[in-house]
């Protein structure tokens, strides 16, 4: 075919299309009908934004549903079902408003094909952005492709259909989303009413409040060292109960530690970890207490690894983690989450905490409101997680940054500062961080004081067991490390633990023997007098003070750490030496066996900064043998890994950047 013939054919095609458009009656998809010069068109355009927004939101839900089938829980609010379409409607609504504005100056910008193409393209692009395995720029050609094709279609019958039915469609879909929101927001109330109706309330049950100070190590608290963080409220609680001088978590990071505390199973038993949520194999403490007629509620500040996506919520009738807020709605879309992941943007907007935490005062308020408004006469089990002591420390960035700019970005954004901090620290970073960390611990102490004071004012404290602990500690320069998930050194494992309930628990007692948080679940069941239904493994810590329970002086701490797939840690971190490492701690020594079989032995009473590995010393050979035997003892083997792994969590860690 010659070039002249092709040009002729194109000319004829254009003429034919024009003829069809000119013959098409108004309101049947003609472009003229939708020009924004017409007074009634703006609301049609907004209707289109609602329709494409809700459809886009549901499309993203399909994508997210597929992702969930791949094995990795996503960080999504429990209100995602209505928040996702709402987020799309908001984003497309803003675009539609911009189009209306543009149409006043440039009429051809606000035609039906342009509106359909733009809204559909952005909705599709955002849904593609939800596929976090793909490069974000992929959203551009896919969104443009879909937008251009639907825009073209809108010039024909499809446009007429859309223009005609968009308002009624928007109304119907709007009602649908509003219904979903109402259903979802009232779900906890309905669940509580159902739970109340199912089991009779136990007679004389004791309330349990379990407060986890996430990432708070014992050695930085005034409760354990008068020279450290000012913690008068915790010290007062300690004087009214039992304080464990050597309490150890079973894992140096959040999810396995929480899962152990809530099931009584060791980390390698329950298997919850980097790519695996706590599954339903083992009953949880909340389920056991619910089975004994307790109301169960959790109020969580750690939105990274203690949220409902990770199975921690099992057994809790009410589980409050993500906030219901405008920002949370926007983060419920692919485009919102991608934008929120831009550290600089989040920092600029002042949203340092928006994605990964709920601040402690809000957690306390949520609990106190729930406790005040609950109508049930059942005893309650309330689980609170305060996340404020986890980096990035808000104290370092609000109101004024107190750390050198060089480190500030990592702290503000939550990007690990492993990369910025060379061995030995620099520019006094560790000193500044320790001071800020202790300041945050002081704030958490005030929150605990406020909570306990309010319970006392309401006359509930005398019938409430208060337990304060932490899921793991933190390394702030000790062993040339920062953070907590890269080793099993004592600062990451030795945590606070106090139990207060005058009458049941002795007052003013400080227990010197090692205790494991693995026994917390059995302890709580024991103190609650919950005898019905499931039993949880472990031994009640009451054995430390109660002769009748069988006094124990032989407890040891045990911890297990599995290397994460994408863990970005320095090359000198012990966790990189092999897939799995373990540790046992008795009253005098800690023994660590690293993944490559190398051993470390430390005296427990020596400060971490002065700690020396005694494993090679002849004088410690006897203790080394004993602790080796102890580690070879009753600890369970690791469960097999998940059948499916998430395809976009890389199998190999990315290269570690060179130190400055």
């Amino acid at each position: 075919m010659s070039a002249g013939n092709r040009a002729e054919r194109r000319r004829k095609g254009r003429a034919a299309r024009k003829a069809v458009e000119e013959k098409r009656p108004a309101g049947r998809g003609g472009e003229g009908r939708f020009r924004l010069g017409a007074a009634q068109s703006w609301w049609r355009l907004l209707s289109l934004a609602v329709v494409f927004g809700v459809v886009g939101g549901f499309l993203e839900m399909g994508v997210v549903g597929w992702i969930l089938t791949q094995g990795l829980p996503l960080h999504l609010s429990q209100e995602y079902l209505w928040m996702a379409p709402t987020a799309y409607v908001v984003v497309l609504g803003v675009l539609a408003a911009a189009l209306i504005g543009a149409g006043r100056f440039w009429r051809s910008a606000a035609t039906l094909p342009v509106a359909v193409g733009l809204l559909a393209g952005v909705a599709m692009g955002s849904a593609v952005l939800a596929l976090e395995m793909l490069h974000p720029l992929v959203a551009v050609p896919v969104g443009l492709g879909v937008g251009v094709q639907l825009g073209r279609m809108a010039r024909g019958r499809f446009g007429g259909f859309v223009a005609r039915y968009a308002p009624v469609g928007a109304l119907a879909l709007g009602f649908l989303v509003a219904g979903l929101a109402a259903f979802s927001l009232t779900r906890p109330d309905r669940a509580e009413a159902r739970a109340d109706a199912m089991l009779p309330a136990p007679e004389g049950g004791t309330n349990i409040v379990l407060i986890i100070l996430d990432t708070v190590r014992a050695r930085s608290m005034g409760l354990y060292d008068a020279a450290k963080a000012h913690t008068p409220n915790l010290e007062q609680l300690g004087r009214e109960g039992v304080v464990f001088e050597q309490a150890y978590s079973a894992s140096p990071w959040t999810l396995p530690s929480h899962a152990t505390m809530l099931t009584g199973r060791w980390p390698q038993e329950h298997g919850a970890g980097w790519m695996r949520a706590l599954d339903g194999r083992y009953p949880t403490l909340a389920e056991a207490l619910a089975g004994n007629g307790y109301s169960t509620a959790a109020f969580v500040g750690n939105l990274t690894y203690a949220n409902h996506n990770w199975g921690i919520d099992r057994g809790f009738t009410r589980f409050e983690d993500y906030p219901v807020s405008v920002w949370q709605v926007l983060f419920s879309s692919g485009i919102g989450r991608r934008l929120a992941s831009l550290d600089g943007l989040r920092s600029w907007l002042g949203l340092h905490d928006a994605l990964n935490r709920v601040r402690a005062p809000v957690v306390t308020d949520r609990f106190l409101r729930w406790q005040r408004e609950r109508e049930s006469d059942r005893p309650f089990f309330a689980f609170l997680n305060y996340f404020d002591a986890h980096e990035p420390l808000a104290a370092l960035v609000e109101p004024e940054p107190v750390v050198p700019l060089r480190y500030r970005n990592g702290l503000v954004t939550g990007e690990s500062v492993h990369f910025d901090v060379p061995p030995g620290g620099q520019g006094g970073f560790f000193e500044i961080y320790r001071a800020a960390y202790e300041s945050v611990i002081g704030e958490l102490d005030r929150e605990v004081g406020r909570l306990v004071g309010e319970l006392e004012r309401r006359g509930e404290l005398s019938n409430t067991v208060v337990i304060v602990a932490s899921d793991h500690g933190e390394l702030i320069g000790e062993y040339d490390l920062f953070g907590h998930d890269s080793s099993l050194y004592l600062p990451t494992l030795r945590v606070p633990l106090l139990i207060r309930h005058p009458g049941t628990v002795p007052t003013g007692v400080r227990m010197a023997n090692p205790a494991s948080l693995r026994d917390l679940a059995a302890t709580i069941l024991d103190l609650a007098g919950a005898r019905k239904g499931v039993e949880l493994p472990g031994r009640s810590l009451a054995s430390h003070w109660d002769e009748a329970t069988g006094r124990s002086t032989t407890d040891v701490g045990y911890a297990f750490l599995k290397r994460g797939p994408n863990l970005r840690v320095p090359p000198w971190a012990p966790v990189v030496r092999g897939p799995v490492m373990e540790s046992v701690i008795d009253s005098s020594f800690q023994y660590i066996r690293n993944g490559d079989g190398s051993e470390e032995l430390y005296a427990v009473q020596v400060a971490p900064l002065d700690a020396r590995n005694l494993a090679g010393r002849e004088s410690a050979a006897g203790r080394l043998m004993e602790l080796r035997r102890l580690l070879a003892g009753p600890w369970p083997a690791a469960v097999p890994g998940p059948r499916r792994t998430n395809p976009w969590v890389g199998a190999t860690p990315p290269p570690f950047p060179a130190l400055p």
């Binding site: 050609p141 896919v142 969104g143 395809p647």
Partner: protein
């Protein structure tokens, strides 16, 4: 040795999705080219047997 792991699938998936997006963007033109190629091929094959 062929290896399909997360590290290879991620860029491959991105590339495929991007290509699909571009094809969609120029759908009419793409379909036109394909149609033309098919027509020419058919004409040539028919010519061979004439």
């Amino acid at each position: 040795m062929l290896y399909f792991g997360p590290e290879t699938i991620m860029p491959l998936g991105s590339a495929l999705a991007a290509v699909m997006g571009v094809i969609l963007l120029f759908w009419q033109r793409t379909v036109g080219y394909v149609r033309r190629v098919v027509t020419r091929a058919r004409e040539r094959i028919a010519g061979m047997f004439r």
